[in-house]
């Protein structure tokens, strides 16, 4: 346990000491939120649009987009540990694989917390509040952390599998594809193109976005929250298992 805490502390310190990792992860989602909400405000005039403020609708994108940066950051950190030989030395310790990965991802969770609180603060300052109240705000932070863990685990898996940072950078566009092919810009039932609506329906990112939106726009919606948390947790568990398996393979090779 002590070793995991040391690893977690190292991960947090390393992440927070890199402004190049924190600043874009905060600035770009906020920039997109700001541009989206002004550029697409007129979309709220569409019949069936769930709110009269596009800012309220688009706030969810900031949380998910921020978490996408976690994947990149986590992957880059793990790849750097592989390239420097640190992971090889760790493999000599009796640490369990999942503990080792979780320790490595603690920094990403710290970054996720900073992001969630920042986006929530911006949402409260410039939006119309959180429909689900204070409890909803707490759940938003929890959902945001779960998604950060899920995407961070995917980043760690890619790094462990490929062993270099370039591969992580190469996979980064795919994460954006997952965001773009979701209900990012309009509710699913308002998407006119059939194939796009089908992809968005199968895409777990849509349910993560809808989980946030339910709390911000509607209030408490058990189904949306269950799907949001379920998709995030499902991705986290699968990615963590894959990362653990990749770590085992890497240790055997070592």
């Amino acid at each position: 346990m002590n070793e995991v805490l040391l690893l977690a502390r190292r991960s947090v310190v390393r992440t927070l000491r890199q402004p190049a990792m924190i600043v874009p992860a905060l600035v770009f989602p906020l920039l997109l939120l700001s541009i989206n909400s002004s550029g697409l405000e007129s979309a709220t005039h569409l019949p069936g649009f769930p709110t009269d403020s596009y800012f309220q609708f688009a706030l969810a994108i900031a949380f998910v987009q921020g978490a996408l940066f976690s994947a990149n950051s986590a992957g880059t950190n793990v790849a750097s540990d592989i390239e420097s030989g640190f992971l090889n030395r760790l493999s000599l310790t009796p640490l369990r694989r999942v503990s080792l990965i979780l320790g490595q991802l603690t920094g990403i969770l710290a970054l996720g917390l900073i992001q969630a609180l920042t986006f929530l603060g911006v949402g409260l300052a410039f939006g119309e509040g959180i429909a689900a109240g204070v409890g909803g705000a707490v759940v938003i932070v929890l959902l945001s952390l779960t998604i950060s863990l899920a995407f961070g685990s995917i980043g760690a898996f890619v790094a462990l599998r490929a062993g270099n940072g370039e591969a992580v950078q190469g996979v980064f566009p795919l994460f954006f594809a997952a965001l773009f092919l979701s209900s990012m810009t309009l509710p699913r039932d308002l998407i006119e193109i059939e194939w796009f609506q089908t992809v968005a329906t199968w895409n777990p990112v849509s349910y993560m976005l809808e989980g946030f939106r339910s709390l911000v726009i509607e209030g408490w919606n058990a189904e949306a929250l269950a799907l949001g948390f379920g998709c995030a947790a499902g991705v986290a568990v699968i990615a963590m298992a894959a990362a653990s398996s990749a770590l085992r393979t890497r240790m055997v090779r070592t």
Partner: protein
């Protein structure tokens, strides 16, 4: 000319043979096209949205501009990488006419943009792109796109040659990103609200985008002002790139 050809060939070869460089430059504009044309197609039902050629064509106008600009921006990254690796220093010692170096980067950016535009156009045609303009309109459309590509690569080259490090990436990319997205990207100018509307009013990209969409729809508008403004900015960025070259020569 020889220098320009050699620099262009090397850059095009590097880009075309490295998947880590080729794939993102093709995929990103495609993602944008798919996400906007597919996800936002209902937006053309908003009261006041008046564009007969359809939403796919409306989005294509923007993605065409984006692909052109990013072809230039990514070439700016290549210039920075060449300086960081020390290749540019050797290139400057060996080149008889150093202006040809900038010309070579310019040429390679045009090839990159043309390739990306070709891919996007094929996908867009499959997805329902309707070009209502005649042959002259189409020539005007792609000439404007290549002018955008030129100003982006000259701006990027100027920054990269002054900073001479990959850290120059955000300084090249951020202004281009902001100019592109602070224009009427998803809806016509009249439907923009808030600060983006104010920014779009003074943003020269708005003029270019509206001209491109007019050419696509076969209802050309603001074409001459768009060409005049773009040519003027290309002239300014040419001076900027030349200044960058002089700066790099001083340390070479």
């Amino acid at each position: 000319m020889k220098v320009a050809r050699a620099v262009a060939w090397r850059n095009i070869h590097n880009w075309a043979t490295k998947p880590s460089m080729l794939v993102p430059s093709l995929l990103f504009p495609l993602f944008f096209f798919t996400a906007f044309a597919g996800g936002l197609s209902r937006v053309d039902s908003i009261p006041g949205f008046d564009y007969d050629a359809g939403y796919t064509t409306f989005v294509y106008g923007f993605v065409l501009l984006q692909a052109s600009a990013f072809g230039g921006i990514f070439t700016g990254f290549a210039v920075a990488r060449d300086f960081e690796s020390g290749f540019s220093r050797r290139l400057m010692l060996g080149a008889a006419h150093r202006g040809g170096i900038v010309g070579g980067y310019w040429l390679s950016a045009a090839v990159r943009a043309a390739t990306t535009i070709a891919v996007i156009t094929v996908v867009a045609l499959i997805a329902g792109l309707e070009v209502h303009g005649n042959g002259i309109d189409v020539v005007g459309l792609y000439t404007l796109a290549l002018l955008m590509n030129a100003l982006a690569v000259l701006f990027g080259t100027g920054v990269a040659m002054r900073l001479r490090t990959m850290q120059a990436g955000p300084a090249i990319q951020t202004p281009a990103f902001l100019l592109l997205f602070l224009a009427p990207v998803w809806v016509p100018y009249d439907l923009l609200t808030g600060w983006v509307h104010a920014a779009a009013t003074v943003n020269p990209v708005t003029l270019v985008l509206e001209a491109e969409r007019g050419l696509l729809a076969g209802e050309p508008e603001k074409v001459l002002p768009a060409f005049a403004v773009t040519t003027l900015i290309v002239g300014i960025t040419l001076l900027w790139a030349r200044g960058g070259l002089r700066s790099a020569e001083r340390v070479a």
